[in-house]
């Protein structure tokens, strides 16, 4: 299966009596990078978890093109997730981690795909366990793990964490490549300066609600401040 958009319609999510997302409606299309902004606890990770099919919404529906979450395995095969935790095994080497997940995603040419991913991450020379890597190196590896199977929907939770300047620049360039390849990229971040100029759109989550951010003048941080003040 494939899809060209993801749309949330009146999506709410409660944890017990706590309402984390409240009637969110938004649509993102292929070839678009959408930044998800908001303070800690605003619901960004919950939003991404619902998009990843990890969490069902308490109310509302999410559509992936014409399909819903019920598409199950076929849908999961088209989604790549970089979580807050990095989803990698510290006891295994970078190659072993990527090869394991490549096989779990039934990627065809595992060896070639993994070597290409390691080269992009700048980790092709490392054969020691990932537990010995720096945070930035693990972050780069985790990003490649999320993109191994060429997903249509890419969900990134704080992807710039721990990256140095060179790696940040490389990631910005990688995001642009994903946009060109027709991916739908949703990324939750606090690094407003870093994604300014990379993201096509920014959504502000506050108190579980989606607040529109104007496309007016000034930097992304200026617009973020304005939207936060007005809401």
């Amino acid at each position: 299966m494939d899809f060209q958009s993801i749309s949330f319609t009146d999506v709410s999510r409660h944890f017990g009596r706590r309402r984390v997302l409240n009637k969110i409606s938004v649509r993102c299309d292929a070839g678009e990078i959408v930044a998800l902004l908001g303070a800690n606890g605003a619901g960004k990770s919950t939003f991404l978890a619902i998009a990843a099919t990890l969490l069902p919404p308490s109310a509302g529906v999410v559509h992936y093109g014409d399909s819903s979450m019920a598409a199950g395995a076929e849908l999961r095969a088209r989604i790549g997730v970089l979580g807050h935790d990095l989803f990698i095994y510290p006891e295994l080497s970078a190659f072993e981690n990527l090869a394991f997940f490549a096989r779990a995603y039934a990627v065809r040419d595992v060896s070639r795909t993994v070597h290409a991913a390691l080269e992009r991450a700048g980790l092709e020379e490392r054969d020691d366990p990932v537990g010995r890597f720096s945070r930035g190196m693990r972050q780069r590896l985790a990003l490649e793990r999320a993109l191994l199977h060429d997903p249509r929907l890419v969900l990134l939770d704080e992807p710039f964490t721990g990256l140095d300047d060179a790696a940040t620049t490389a990631l910005r360039s990688r995001l642009a490549d994903l946009r060109s390849a027709g991916c739908i990229v949703l990324l939750a971040t606090h690094d407003l300066e870093t994604i300014d100029g990379v993201a096509d759109r920014a959504l502000l989550l506050r108190g579980g609600r989606l607040i529109s951010m104007d496309e007016g003048p000034g930097s992304l941080r200026d617009r973020y401040r304005r939207a936060s003040r007005e809401s």
Partner: protein, 232 residues
């Protein structure tokens, strides 16, 4: 490069088992702690139940299964703790692989670890308790295999369900032992029958049949409930 299919059930299960065993081979954490615990357990009981070289009746069978149950609980907890630390269980759930195959893969990994523990504990009990555990090697092996599968089948399901629970270390034995009591009883009785001066193979076969029945029920239920139980 886009995958049009997903790995087969068997390929997924083997992939997960192989990964767990490779990690264990590197760290040897679970096998060492589990083995140390099982051996300590046997030694402590040996001091309590063996007087002047003679063990209390049926003590060897009971202690063998207690050692398996206790060390098995430890192995289950540690195996899933690894998946919790970097949220890799969630990463596995995100793949298109069959979710029951993930369960089977984890189960096989636990079974291999417990088999390694049993390979040390059984001869140790035979030695310490003067128990003829190798008089009927095939039947003893079948009872151990069936009993361990039954115990680990339930344990793997519960350990996976509890992986994000705050008090998982306390909850796992509380949930696991009451449900696996029939397996432990059948294992103890089946083994005890083989250790009698006049061992009865037909009775041991009956206990083995009961264990196989439990295995079928537990594995079927676990395969059926794993996916809904793991959804958040």
């Amino acid at each position: 490069m886009s995958p049009e299919s997903r790995p087969s059930f068997a390929a997924t299960a083997w992939l997960v088992t192989k990964k767990d065993l490779l990690i264990e081979l590197r760290s040897r954490e679970v096998v060492y702690t589990t083995l140390f615990f099982a051996v300590a357990c046997v030694l402590v009981f040996a001091f309590g139940f063996v007087r002047e070289g003679v063990a209390v009746d049926d003590a060897a069978a009971g202690i063998l299964w207690i050692a398996i149950a206790f060390s098995g609980t430890l192995a289950l907890g540690r195996t899933f703790e690894r998946e919790r630390q970097n949220d890799t269980l969630r990463a596995l759930m995100l793949t298109p692989a069959d979710r029951p195959a993930l369960y089977v893969g984890k189960l096989m990994g636990v079974l291999v670890l417990l088999a390694a523990v049993e390979a040390i504990v059984v001869p140790l009990i035979a030695l310490m308790f003067h128990a003829p555990l190798f008089a009927f090697p095939l039947m003893t092996a079948l009872l151990l295999t069936a009993g361990t599968i039954g115990f680990a089948a339930v344990g793997t399901l519960f350990a996976a369900m509890l992986v994000r629970a705050r008090s998982r270390d306390v909850l796992l034995p509380i949930l696991l032992y009451p449900i696996t009591i029939p397996v432990i009883i059948a294992g103890v009785r089946g083994t005890a029958v083989l250790l009698q001066p006049e061992a009865s193979l037909p009775v041991a076969r009956m206990w083995l049949s009961i264990l196989v029945f439990f295995d079928v029920v537990f594995i079927t239920l676990a395969l059926w409930t794993f996916e809904p139980a793991m959804s958040e």
